[in-house]
């Protein structure tokens, strides 16, 4: 599942998370974000979740008030991409307990850490939910330990 980018944005088009897996200049990134938000937010409610944009396939899904949107190569399996997005949402849900948009806003760095345990270089790195969750927990423990003053 070679992803080029993964974006999370709200219904008003505010970006909540952006992960880029290919090197793109800053200006180009802003343009892509603008294009994605316009395209996705402009979709009618009962459309299918797949779009075409330039030579990429765009797969998006709405979870509560957040849109999860990723850009894939043209040969990728869109249905699997939906599963990937769903898995990420499940991981967030497990971590935050009934995750909502505010959790992701106020703990954005944690959302990134979770993503980095699930996807690597645009590909799925771990297919087991439990393993990913355990890795995050362990990393968090390590972080807590290293934050204590006595461990300096």
């Amino acid at each position: 599942m070679t992803m080029h980018f993964l974006l999370l944005f709200s219904r008003q088009g505010k970006l909540r998370l952006q992960k880029w897996f290919t090197p793109i200049p800053e200006r180009e990134k802003k343009k892509i974000v603008r294009d994605m938000t316009t395209m996705v937010l402009g979709r009618k409610p009962r459309s299918c979740n797949f779009l075409h944009w330039k030579d990429l396939k765009i797969v998006y899904k709405k979870y509560a008030s957040l849109y999860f949107c990723c850009g894939l190569d043209a040969e990728e399996n869109e249905l699997l991409a939906l599963e990937v997005l769903h898995r990420y949402v499940e991981l967030l849900d497990k971590y935050f307990g009934n995750v909502c948009e505010l959790d992701i806003i106020f703990n954005f760095e944690k959302a990134y850490f979770i993503l980095d345990e699930f996807l690597l270089g645009g590909e799925v790195q771990e297919t087991s939910k439990q393993v990913v969750s355990r890795s995050i927990e362990a990393s968090d423990m390590l972080q807590e330990v290293s934050e204590r003053p006595c461990s300096r």
């Binding site: 970006l15 090197p23 797949f50 699997l80 939906l82 990937v84 898995r87 760095e109 980095d116 270089g121």
Partner: protein
């Protein structure tokens, strides 16, 4: 107070800002504070400040002053600082920034760190933004980690290796041995990474691909295990055991089985098993089935398996989930040429999807429906298409109309049906048709001699109802001008005749002439039609004379010129008028845009390329097509639609007047056992060979084979062909459009020819391709064929 609350506090404050200006103010203050903190010595708050900066960056504000801080934090011994530092690097640095080189050393050290979580950070960052240089530097490290570490690290190292191979393809050789051994791991994460890595290696290097064909049995076993295993709580998704891994294995099998019989055989059973045993009630199962179908269609599978795959797609078409219907149609589109009959079975469902609410689904359904049109289903399918046209979204209209016209031209069961269909389209969507529709329709009308009366009646009725659709009005004017006498006669077999007087007809034409809605071209049509009527009516010739003289001072130069010339025709050349304006002969479809024979030299002006007049009525391709393909043997070629992925049939014109037939080269075709092939084109390293195979005494199969001896792949290969007028041509889908370099592969395309009149067979082939980023285009004419005996 725990420091991270400050981050959340800042977020709260920013979100509390009521205006954009207020938000900017808050952020400027925060950034200033962060900058100041960065300049100070280490005070334990650096990671939190960087986190704040990253938040600000996500809102869209500049944050480059944080780049060096990322570098410093990455080098810190403390995990919490490293974590944020690496996150910052992934967000703020990319390979184009100079600062990214500075973290190479830290990454190198961290790759060998005692804590796997630190190693993980380094691997993640490297795979996200590692430049080619960094990759070259650190590749040996990654190779080491691929071999000797725990599964947590191995899976990450595998994906890091994938990134490295994408950046620096030569590194593929380094990772191949390790990749091979990873396949024996049990851990799903590692297996997944290994399969992705092997896929990447095989896609880039054909030798590696050869090597890895040997692991097909291993992969088959692995896949079987996943499919047949019972419930595994760790990897289960909606009843499917690890769909992510299953899909990747299927994709790798696809690459390994492509163009290789042995490998394809080895996976046949497995694919059948997966196709039958996978529960597709949820997306996970459908994803696996979808990948299976793609694999089956791409490898050399048995026909039974292919039918099974198409049936799965057919089932998908009936699924409630719109996504599944959509991807089913995309896949059917890809295979409709090669497995046409199998897809035909699902035509009913596809046509139903034309009524779907979703615009993407509609578009796919339209493409597929057009691809499925055949002589057998043309009437029923056209009804559906016309229904669709009346309610279709505006962005699809032009495509629909041209699709309908193509289909009608190829498969029209009768001329009347054809004319009716075109008129229906013009009335429904006349504004969205291509320019050459008008001359095409006029040509068609002239050839349908028995239907002239019917046609002119229909068009007259359409004209008096509505004169806003320019294409329709132009055709109507032309017809009334040509066949006005039939209209006035007041009798018609095929339809209810109108009772009109000459004045009524002239009124109609004058309305067109005077209306603001009429374009200049349309007015030209109307004026000439009016003039033509002067020889077809008896009473109101004076009225025509006066109309013509009025327009002699019209502002529009084109109209003025015509009017002046017609005036001259009345005054000085009245004795010639009847001859000049008499009924046109049947128009020859294939002659390029020359004026028709009957127009007296100089009185009818030759048209400029953009405007249409009724003198130039030959079907011309849109300007980006090649018109000179037509000019074979002095005007006996066929117009051709060059979409190489669709099989195209040259339209058989209703009246084929014999072209310049020369020697009957095809007399007595013999089927030779091994037809020799002849090289017809050799340039820039691209060679095109032609091989013929006769099957019947009028039909012949020609195979065109393209090979490439240059160092680079040839891409975007398209072949177009034109043949003499009475020969029917059908081009099958080519085997591909990329010719691999160094003669490693070839592209073939089969062309079916039917030569019922046994005219001398010549074929003109146009070759287009991209070689080393430059587009080349050449035309060759083949006058002699290898296998025929003459």
């Amino acid at each position: 107070m725990s420091p991270s609350v400050r981050l959340q506090e800042m977020i709260r404050v920013i979100r509390g800002a009521r205006t954009q200006g207020e938000e900017r103010g808050v952020i400027q203050r925060e950034c200033a504070a962060i900058r100041a903190q960065f300049r100070q010595a280490d005070n334990g708050t650096r990671s939190h400040n960087l986190a704040k900066l990253l938040y600000v960056h996500m809102l869209g504000y500049p944050a480059h002053f944080g780049q060096m801080e990322c570098v410093r934090l990455i080098a810190s011994p403390r995990y919490n600082e490293k974590r944020v530092g690496y996150l910052g690097a992934m967000m703020l640095l990319d390979e184009k920034q100079d600062a990214s080189l500075l973290i190479t050393n830290s990454i190198k050290n961290d790759l060998s760190h005692s804590s796997q979580y630190v190693q993980s950070l380094a691997l993640c960052t490297l795979a996200c933004m590692g430049s080619a240089e960094m990759c070259r530097d650190l590749a040996p490290e990654i190779d080491r980690l691929l071999r000797a570490s725990n599964s947590y690290i191995k899976k990450k190292a595998a994906l890091c290796a994938v990134h490295m191979v994408r950046k620096v393809p030569e590194l593929g050789e380094l990772f191949t041995p390790a990749a091979r051994s990873l396949l024996s791991e049990k851990n799903h994460g590692v297996l997944h990474g290994a399969v992705v890595l092997i896929t990447e290696l095989c896609e880039r290097n054909p030798d590696t691909l050869e090597q890895f064909r040997k692991v097909v049995p291993e992969l088959v076993l692995m896949m079987k295990g996943l499919v047949m295993s019972g419930y595994s709580p760790e990897h289960n998704v909606a009843g499917i055991s690890d769909p992510f891994l299953q899909v990747r294995i299927l994709r790798l099998l696809r690459i390994l089985g492509r163009n290789n019989d042995t490998a394809s055989d080895a996976m046949n059973d497995l694919l059948a098993q997966v196709a039958t045993n996978t529960d597709s009630s949820k997306t996970a199962g459908s994803a696996v089935l979808y990948e299976t179908v793609l694999t089956v269609m791409d490898i050399k599978s048995e026909s039974g398996l292919r039918v099974l795959a198409v049936n799965i797609l057919g089932r998908f078409l009936l699924n409630n989930d719109r996504n599944i219907r959509y991807i089913s149609m995309t896949s059917l589109q890809k295979i409709v040429q090669t497995d046409h009959n199998a897809v035909q079975r699902h035509r009913g469902t596809i046509v139903d999807c034309l009524k779907d609410q979703d615009a993407s689904v509609k578009r796919r359904a339209l493409e597929l429906s057009l691809a499925l049109v055949s002589a057998v289903n043309i009437r029923s399918l056209m009804k559906e298409l016309l229904l669709f046209l009346s309610s279709c979204p505006p962005e699809l209209r032009a495509h629909t109309t041209s699709g309908i016209f193509n289909a009608a031209e190829r498969y029209a069961p009768s001329q009347r049906w054809h004319i009716d269909t075109i008129l229906h389209v013009l009335t429904t969507a006349g504004g969205d048709v291509r320019d050459e529709t008008v001359p095409n329709l006029i040509q068609l009308i002239t050839t349908a001699t028995e239907l002239h009366c019917y046609t002119v009646h229909k068009l007259y009725r359409a004209l008096i109802t509505d004169i806003s659709v320019q294409s329709l009005v132009q055709v109507a004017c032309w017809c009334i001008g040509e066949y006005g006498d039939l209209l006035l006669r007041g009798e018609c077999e095929e339809t209810e005749p109108v009772q009109v007087t000459e004045d009524d007809v002239l009124d109609a034409l004058e309305t067109v002439l005077q209306s603001h809605m009429s374009s200049p071209a349309t007015r030209g049509f109307a004026l000439t039609a009016t003039m033509k009527l002067s020889t077809r009516i008896t009473h109101n010739v004076d009225r025509i004379r006066s109309i013509v003289s009025i327009y002699g001072s019209c502002i529009d130069v084109e109209l003025q010129q015509r009017a002046v010339e017609y005036n001259a025709l009345f005054k000085k050349y009245d004795h010639m008028r009847a001859a000049v304006l008499e009924r046109m002969p049947v128009i020859d479809k294939s002659s390029p845009g020359h004026t028709n024979g009957e127009s007296a030299g100089g009185t009818i002006k030759e048209l400029e390329p953009t405007k249409l007049t009724q003198e130039i009525v030959f079907p011309q391709e849109p300007s980006n097509q090649v018109c000179d393909l037509l000019d074979l043997l002095g005007g006996s070629g066929e117009p051709f639609q060059p979409s190489p992925s669709l099989s195209s049939t040259a339209p058989g014109p209703a009246s084929s007047t014999a072209g310049g037939d020369l020697l009957d080269l095809l007399g007595g075709l013999d089927v030779t056992p091994a037809p020799p092939s002849v090289t017809v084109y050799e340039k820039n390293g691209v060679t095109l060979k032609l091989q013929t195979d006769t099957q019947t005494d009028t039909g012949m199969t020609v195979t065109l084979t393209a090979t490439n001896s240059t160092d680079g792949d040839i891409t975007g290969l398209t072949l177009q062909a034109a043949v003499p007028k009475s020969v029917q041509l059908q081009m099958k889908a080519p085997s591909g459009d990329v010719i691999p370099a160094h003669g490693l592969g070839q592209v073939t395309q089969t062309v079916l020819l039917n030569n019922p009149n046994k005219v001398s067979l010549k074929i003109r082939v146009r070759v287009c391709y991209t070689s080393q980023s430059s587009v080349c285009q050449d035309t060759v004419q083949i006058d002699s064929f290898p296998s025929t005996a003459w």
